[in-house]
C-alpha cells in the first residue's frame, strides 16, 4: 500500500454547515487548490482538474479525476482522486469528517495515497510532507472563503 496521511484542521468560529457549503462549492475549491488551472464538473460529483506541482523531485503538471462519494451532509464524505503527470500517478482515497467542537469545526482527513513512477521511487519519502503543505494551504483558503461567505 501507499502512504497513509492524516491531517486535521480547525475552522475557527464556523459551523459544520458553513464549512460544508464552502468545501462543496466548485468555485471555492478551484480557488483554494494551489496552482489549479482547470476545475470542471464532468458528471455527478465528478470533476476534472489540472494542477501544477513543484516540490523537489516532484515537479510537473497533473491531470486529475476527482470524485465525491458517500456524502452525508454536513458530516462526512469520501474523496477519490486519480491524478496523472510526468512524475507518476497518484491514487488517493480520503475520508473527510466534520465535527463541531468548542472553537468551531474540526475537519479530519484520513487518506491512503499510492503513487507510481518517480513519485514512488524517489518521491515516496516526500509525499507525506508535500501533502501536509498542500492540505494546509487548501484548508486555510477554504476557511477564508467560508468566513467571507458567513460575513465574518
Amino acid at each position: 500500500m501507499g502512504v497513509e496521511i492524516k491531517h486535521k484542521y480547525t475552522f475557527k468560529n464556523l459551523s459544520k454547515q458553513e464549512v460544508w457549503d464552502t468545501i462543496q462549492d466548485p468555485e471555492a475549491l478551484q480557488a483554494a487548490l494551489p496552482n489549479c488551472e482547470v476545475f470542471e464538473e464532468v458528471g455527478d460529483e465528478k470533476y476534472k482538474t489540472v494542477m501544477k506541482v513543484n516540490m523537489g523531485a516532484i515537479k510537473g503538471e497533473f491531470t486529475a479525476d476527482v470524485q465525491q462519494i458517500d456524502k452525508s451532509e454536513p458530516d462526512s464524505y469520501r474523496l477519490l482522486v486519480k491524478a496523472r503527470g510526468k512524475p507518476g500517478e497518484i491514487e488517493a482515497n480520503a475520508k473527510m469528517v466534520l465535527e463541531e467542537i468548542a472553537e468551531g469545526t474540526e475537519l479530519s482527513c484520513e487518506a491512503d495515497v499510492s503513487t507510481t513512477g518517480l513519485m514512488a521511487t524517489v518521491g515516496q519519502r516526500m509525499v507525506g510532507g508535500v501533502a501536509k503543505v498542500v492540505l494546509g494551504q487548501f484548508f486555510k483558503d477554504i476557511e477564508k472563503q467560508a468566513k467571507q461567505a458567513a460575513g465574518q
Partner: protein, 782 residues
Amino acid sequence: MEKMVGQRIKRKEDPKLITGNGMYLDDMKIPGLLHASIVRSPHPHANIVSIDKEKALKHPGVVAVYTGKDLEGKINPVPTSWKVPGMDLIETKQYPLAINTARYVGDGVAMVVADSKYTARDAAELIEVDYEVLPSIANQKEARKDGAPQIYDEVPGNVAFKYVAGEVTDEDLENAEVVMKGSYNTQRVAPSPMETRNSLAQYNPGSGDLKLYVGSQNPHIHRMVLSEVLNFPEHKLHVKVADMGGGFGGKIGVYPDEALVSYASMDLKRPVKWVETRNEHFQSANAGRDMMVDLELAGTKDGKITALRAVNHANIGAYLATFGPGNPTIDFGLMLSGAYKIEKAQCTTYGMYTNTMSVDSYRGAGKPEVTFMLERAVDDFARKINMDPIEVRRINFASKEEFPFTNAQGLIYDSGDYVKALDRAVEKSDYHALRQKQEELREEGRYIGIGISSYVELSGFGPSAVAGAIGFQGGIWENSTVRVHPGGTVTVYTGTSPHGQGHDTTFSQIVKDKLGIPYEDINFVFNDTRAVSMGWGTYGSRSLAVGGNAVGLATDKVVEKGRRIAAHLLEAEVEDIEFEEGVYSVRDDNSRRKTFQEIAKAANFAWSLPEGMEPGLEEQTFFDPSNFTYPFGTHIAVVEVDIETGEIEILRYIAVDDSGKIVNPTVAEGQILGGIAQGVGQALWEGVQYDEKGQLQSGSFMDYAMPKANFFPKIEMEFTETLSPVNQLGSKGVAESGTTGSIAAAANAVMDALAPLGVKHIELPLKPEKVWRAIQKGGAES
C-alpha cells in the same frame, strides 16, 4: 632475487584511472552515434492496452521508437544460464521489451532512439502507455500462499522451482537434546557500482559485424547468450568492455537492454548507446540476496550441532536472471553447514516469482546469506546452551586433519585450518579482555557487543564437469595466451574480466617471477572477445584461482619452449639448461648463456630452431581446475548501541581471512575491505524497499543508504595462509570473503549488545529506529 608474488606492489591500473586517462563507455564518442532511452513500466504488474508513440516520433531529433510488439519475432527472449537438474524449473519468457504484460516496476515497454541522450529522454516522456493494472505481489512468502496474485498463468503458485539438497528427518530433530528454530532473512540490496550499466552497439552494414561495448563481467558469456537472443552468428559478434567502474555481480547478467541497443544499431545501421540512470539502476539492474530462511537446528547440551534443516524462500523477481536459479540452490543450499562438521543438513529452496526486479549473484551470491543464517544461529544456539560462542565454533569446526573435508551435502573442501584463523582473531581482538570490558560497561549502562562470524566460502569457479552437473550453462575453466614479442616484451591474454580487481598487477607479478623480465615489460589484454579466444569472466572469486593459474601455466610453457631453443643455440642438452632471472644457461658453465630477450628474438626470427619446431614464442593454456577453492576466516565486530536512540557505532572490526597464497597483500586487503563495507552495509544500512504490491520506493541514493568510509573505524586485517592443493599458486578466492564473513559479524555484535535487554532478533538492516523499537519491546519479537 626476491619473488614478486607475495609483495605489496602498487596497482598498475591506477595511474591511468586517477589521472583522467581512462575510457569508460560513456566517454566514447563515435560519428553518427545515437542514444537510446527506455520507457519502463511504473506499475508492478499491468497489461499493456496500447502504446501511442506518435508524439515521440514527431519530436525533433527522434530517429526511432520501438515497442515490444514491433520486436515480436525479431529478438528472442533473454534466457537464464543456470538450470539446476532436479529443480523442475519453469522458465518464463523475458522479452527484451514486454509485449503484452509488464511484470515489475522497470520492465521495459518501449525504447526511443534519438540524436542526443536528452532528446531521447524527453521523447520517452511523450510516449503514452495505457495500462490495465493487475494484482501484484512483492514478498516471496506471500506469493506462495493460496489466493496470492498469479504472475504467470503457466506458473501455479508462482513457484519457479523447488530444490531439495540433503535429508534431515523429523526424528533427527525430535531426538536431539536441544532444538532451536529461527528465521534468518537477508534483505534485497542493490549492487550499486559507481558506474551504472551501459552498452554501445556498432553494426557495420558493410562487413556484417556487430561490435558491442557493454558493461559486463563476462564478455564471452554475453557474446554466447546475445548471439542466441539476436539470432546473430557468434563469430560476427565482437563484445568488448571499456574501463568499468565496478560490477559486484550486477554486471554478470545478460540484460534486455543490451539486446535492444544491438537490435537498434542493426536496424538503423548506426551506432547506438544506452547508459542507465541511477534511478533506472534501482529499478532494472539485477538485485542481490532477498532470501527468507527458516532454520531448525539440532544439537547437544555440550555444544555439538547435529543437524540443520532449512527452508529458503528465495525471491527471484519477475524473470530468471542469468545466474538467478543457482545462487539459492547451489551456493546457498550446498553450503548450509559452513565450516562445521555437522552430520546432517537439508535445504529446501523455493524460487519464487514476484513482481520485482530479478535477483542475481551479488558479491558472495548465496554464501553471505547462508553464512548469515548459520553464524547467527550458532550464536543463538550458544546463548541457548549458555556457552561462549567461540567455544561452540571450536567444538564444531572441521579439523585441519580432515581435509579434503566432505561437508554434509557432499562438497569437498580443498584445505582449511579454521581453528588457526579463529585463534588469531581471538588474539588480535583481545577477545577475553573485550568480554570483561563489556561487563564493566554494562554496569555503567553502556551496551557494547562482540560479534563473531566464522565462514567458509565456495570460490574459484571451477571444475567444468561440476558446472555441468549443477546445470551451469557453460564451462568454468580459464584460458591464457602468453605472446612474446621479438624484443622480449610480453602480452598476456586471459578470459577473466577485471573491473577494479587489479588483475593486470597481480597477474603480472606471476609472469614476472616466472620469466625474470622487467615487470614493465608485461602487458595484459582482457575484456575483448576478439583478442581473447574464450573465457568465462570474473565472478565467483575465480580470477586468480583459475585465471591467474592459467596465466602461470601458459608462462611455464613459454619457458619450456625457450629452454629447447636455448639448448639448440647453446649446443647443450635440454635437461642441462637452467633458467633463472631471465637467463638460460648451461648447468656448470655459466658463460654459455642466452637471455630471454635473445631467445625471444631467435624464436620470432626463426633463423635457427630445433628441428621440427614451429617459429614464434607464444603459448596458450586452458586450465580446468580439479575442484573449487574454499577460503575461510573469522571476523570479529565490536559495536556500541546507544539504547536511547538505537544508533550503532562500530568500535572495532577484526578480519582474519585465509585465501591461500596471497599474491599481493595490498590488492587482497582492498578486496577484503570493500567486501566488509558491503557486508556491514547489508547488516546495518542498505535495503531495497518495495511496498507489498511491488511498487519500488527506494529509487535514489536519497532513499537507499550506501555505506561510507566514515561509518567505519580502521579495519584490522590479517591473513593466514593455508595453501590450496588444487592449483599451482595455492591461491583461493578473496573477493567475496569480506562480504561473506561480515554480515553475521556485525549483526551478531548488535544482538550480543542487546542480549541483556531481552532482544533476540531484529530483521536486517539494523536501522536505529528498528533497534530502538526492539529495545522498547524487550523480549517481545520485533
